[in-house]
C-alpha cells in the first residue's frame, strides 16, 4: 500500500470508524452546544478543523523534541494544553489583525475550543498512534493529516446533528422531550449508527 492508501485509511478511520464524537465520545460539548443552527455548526466545524490541524502539528514537535528526549511523556497533558491554548490565542490575534473577514466567521468559535478535549485528544492520540502496518509510529505529516481528518469527522457529524435538530424543531414533541432531551436521544441513535462502521477492516 502506497502513501495515498495510507492517507485513505487514515481518513476513513478518523471520519467514520473512530469518529471523535460518536466513537471516541470526545468533544461532546460543542457537539450538543453549537448544533442548533447549520451555519453556526459550519463555523464551529471549520474552527475545529483549523485548530486540530494546527494543534497536531505543534504538539508533535513539542512531544518529539522536548518531551521524548527528556523522558517527560507523563507531562503531555499539561504541556499540550499550554501549547494549544497559547497557540490558538496567538493565531486568533493574528487573524483579527490581518484577516478580519476570516475572524468574523471563525473568531467567536476559536476561544471556545482552545481547551476542548477533542483537540487535546487528537494531540495525545497522535503520539501513540501507529500506521496501518501496526509498527510505524506517526511522523509529522501523519500527525497533521490525522488532525485534519479528525476535524473533518467532527464537522461531518456536527453538520448532520444540526440538520437533524433543525428538523426536530418543527416536530410537535411532548414538552418534557423538547430541547436537550431529544438532542441527547438523537446523539445516542447517531452513535449507534456509527457503531456500524466499527466492523470495517480496510
Amino acid at each position: 500500500m502506497g502513501y495515498i492508501g495510507e492517507i485513505f485509511v487514515m481518513a476513513m478511520t478518523a471520519i467514520f470508524i473512530q469518529n471523535f464524537v460518536l466513537a471516541r465520545f470526545l468533544g461532546l460539548c460543542p457537539y450538543l452546544g453549537v448544533s442548533k443552527k447549520l451555519d453556526s455548526a459550519m463555523g464551529m466545524g471549520m474552527a475545529v478543523i483549523f485548530v486540530m490541524t494546527l494543534a497536531s502539528a505543534i504538539t508533535f514537535l513539542i512531544n518529539k523534541y522536548l518531551l521524548m528526549p527528556n523522558e517527560l511523556m507523563y507531562l503531555q497533558t499539561i504541556a499540550f494544553i499550554l501549547t494549544i491554548a497559547s497557540l490558538v490565542q496567538f493565531v486568533e490575534m493574528v487573524i483579527q489583525k490581518n484577516a478580519p473577514a476570516l475572524y468574523k466567521s471563525l473568531g467567536v468559535f476559536l476561544p471556545l475550543i482552545t481547551t476542548n478535549c477533542a483537540v487535546l485528544g487528537v494531540a495525545i492520540l497522535n503520539t501513540g498512534a501507529l500506521r496501518s502496518d501496526g509498527v510505524t509510529a506517526y511522523n509529522f505529516l501523519d500527525s497533521v493529516l490525522n488532525g485534519f481528518f479528525s476535524g473533518v469527522g467532527f464537522t461531518v457529524v456536527l453538520l448532520a446533528m444540526a440538520g437533524l435538530r433543525m428538523r426536530m424543531e418543527m416536530v410537535e414533541l411532548p414538552r418534557s422531550m423538547k430541547g436537550m432531551p431529544i438532542a441527547l436521544i438523537l446523539a445516542g441513535i447517531m452513535a449507534l449508527a456509527f457503531y456500524g462502521f466499527m466492523g470495517f477492516k480496510i
Partner: protein
C-alpha cells in the same frame, strides 16, 4: 552520606527538569502573547464595548446573532436594529439609543402587522370544526386548515403565544390586536405564523392591505365574503399617487419605501381590503395668504391636484380633493402651508 547526596540530586533532577521545561514553555508562550497583543492590537470602536456592557450578556441568540458581542458589533457596523434584544426589553433599547445617539433616532422603527382581516368568530368562513391541538402549526396540517381560505388566519393565536412582550391581545370577537407601544418588531410572531401573514411595517405607515390571498377575485370572495379579500382588481395601484402599490398573483402589495401614507387606496378599494388607521383623522392643507408667493411648487407636488392658482398669484387648496398626505408642507419655500 554519598547515598543521600545521590538521592537528593536525582530527586532534584526528577522534579527540577520538568519544572524548568514547563516553566520555560509557559514563560515563552506568555512572552509571545504579550508581544503579540501589542503588535496585533486592533482598535475596537468604543461604542461596541459600551453596548456590550448595556446588553444583558445572556448570549441567548434572540437577536439572531451568536451572542451579545456579535449583536453589539452588528449594531455599530451594520446598522442592525437596536430593538432586537428580547431579554433586555425597553430599558436596553433606551440605553443603546443613548450610546448610538443620532444614528439610532434615524433608524426606521417598525411594528408587526397581520395581513389578514379574518380570524375572528364572526368574520371567518369555516370548512370544518377543528378540535385538535390548539396551535396554528398543527391545524394547518389538517386538510389545509379549518378555515375556507387557505391563505388566511386560522385564529388559533400562535402569534400571541410567540410574543414575549405581551403586545398581542385578543378582542371580544377573537381578533388579534397589536399594541403599537409594546411591539418591538422582534419578528417572533412573523416566524410563528405558519401562513406567513405577519410582516414588519414602518411604524409611521398606517395603511395596510389586510389580505394575503392569492386567489382570483371570485374565488377569494367565495371563501371570505365580499368585504374582506383583496381581489386583485388593481384600482388601488392605478390610484396610488406615488405608484407604491403593485398587484401580483391577484394580490396588491404596498412598497413602504414609496408609500406616503395618504390613504387614497383605502378609499377606492371596492372590497375594503385596505385598512387605513388614520381614515377620517387626517388634517387638510391650508395655505397662509400672507406667506404664499405663488411659486406653484405645492401644486406640482400635490398627487391629487387639489391645489390651484396661477404663477405669482395666491394658491388655494380644494378641501374636498385634499387627502391630507402632507406632501406639499415640506416643499413650500415660505413654510406657508399648514395642516388644519
Amino acid at each position: 552520606m554519598s547515598l543521600i547526596l545521590l538521592q537528593s540530586t536525582s530527586l532534584a533532577a526528577t522534579i527540577g527538569l520538568p519544572i524548568i521545561i514547563i516553566g520555560a514553555l509557559g514563560l515563552l508562550f506568555g512572552l509571545i502573547l504579550a508581544i503579540a497583543s501589542k503588535v496585533f492590537e486592533v482598535q475596537i470602536d468604543p461604542r461596541v464595548e459600551e453596548i456590550i456592557s448595556a446588553l444583558p450578556g445572556a448570549n441567548c441568540g434572540a437577536c439572531g446573532q451568536a451572542g451579545c458581542a456579535g449583536y453589539a458589533d452588528q449594531i455599530v457596523h451594520e446598522g442592525e436594529a437596536i430593538n432586537k434584544c428580547a431579554p433586555g426589553g425597553a430599558a436596553t433599547v433606551a440605553l443603546i439609543a443613548k450610546i448610538m445617539g443620532a444614528t439610532a433616532g434615524a433608524m426606521q422603527q417598525k411594528v408587526a402587522v397581520i395581513h389578514c382581516s379574518s380570524g375572528g368568530q364572526d368574520n371567518t368562513k369555516w370548512k370544518y370544526n377543528y378540535d385538535g391541538v390548539s396551535s396554528c402549526k398543527a391545524a394547518v396540517n389538517v386538510a389545509g386548515g379549518p378555515n375556507s381560505c387557505s391563505w388566511g388566519c386560522m385564529g388559533l393565536n400562535d402569534c400571541q403565544a410567540a410574543c414575549t412582550f405581551d403586545a398581542i391581545s385578543i378582542d371580544a370577537n377573537g381578533m388579534r390586536v397589536i399594541d403599537y407601544d409594546k411591539c418591538t418588531a422582534c419578528g417572533a410572531c412573523v416566524k410563528a405564523c405558519p401562513r406567513g401573514l405577519i410582516a414588519l411595517v414602518p411604524i409611521n405607515r398606517n395603511v395596510y392591505i389586510k389580505c394575503s390571498s392569492k386567489e382570483k377575485g371570485p374565488d377569494a370572495k367565495a371563501v371570505c365574503g365580499s368585504t374582506h379579500p383583496c381581489i386583485g382588481c388593481g384600482i388601488c395601484s392605478r390610484k396610488c399617487p406615488v405608484q407604491a402599490i403593485t398587484v401580483t398573483d391577484s394580490l396588491a402589495r404596498i412598497d413602504y419605501d414609496k408609500c406616503i401614507n395618504c390613504g387614497l387606496c383605502a378609499t377606492v378599494c371596492p372590497t375594503k381590503a385596505i385598512q387605513d388607521l388614520l381614515a377620517g383623522c387626517r388634517k387638510k392643507a391650508e395655505i397662509d395668504p400672507e406667506g404664499c408667493i405663488g411659486c406653484t411648487i405645492c401644486a406640482k407636488v400635490c398627487p391629487v391636484d387639489a391645489i390651484s392658482g396661477e404663477l405669482k398669484q395666491l394658491h388655494t387648496v380644494d378641501k374636498d380633493k385634499c387627502i391630507g398626505c402632507e406632501q406639499c408642507v415640506p416643499k413650500c419655500p415660505k413654510k406657508a402651508i399648514e395642516m388644519v
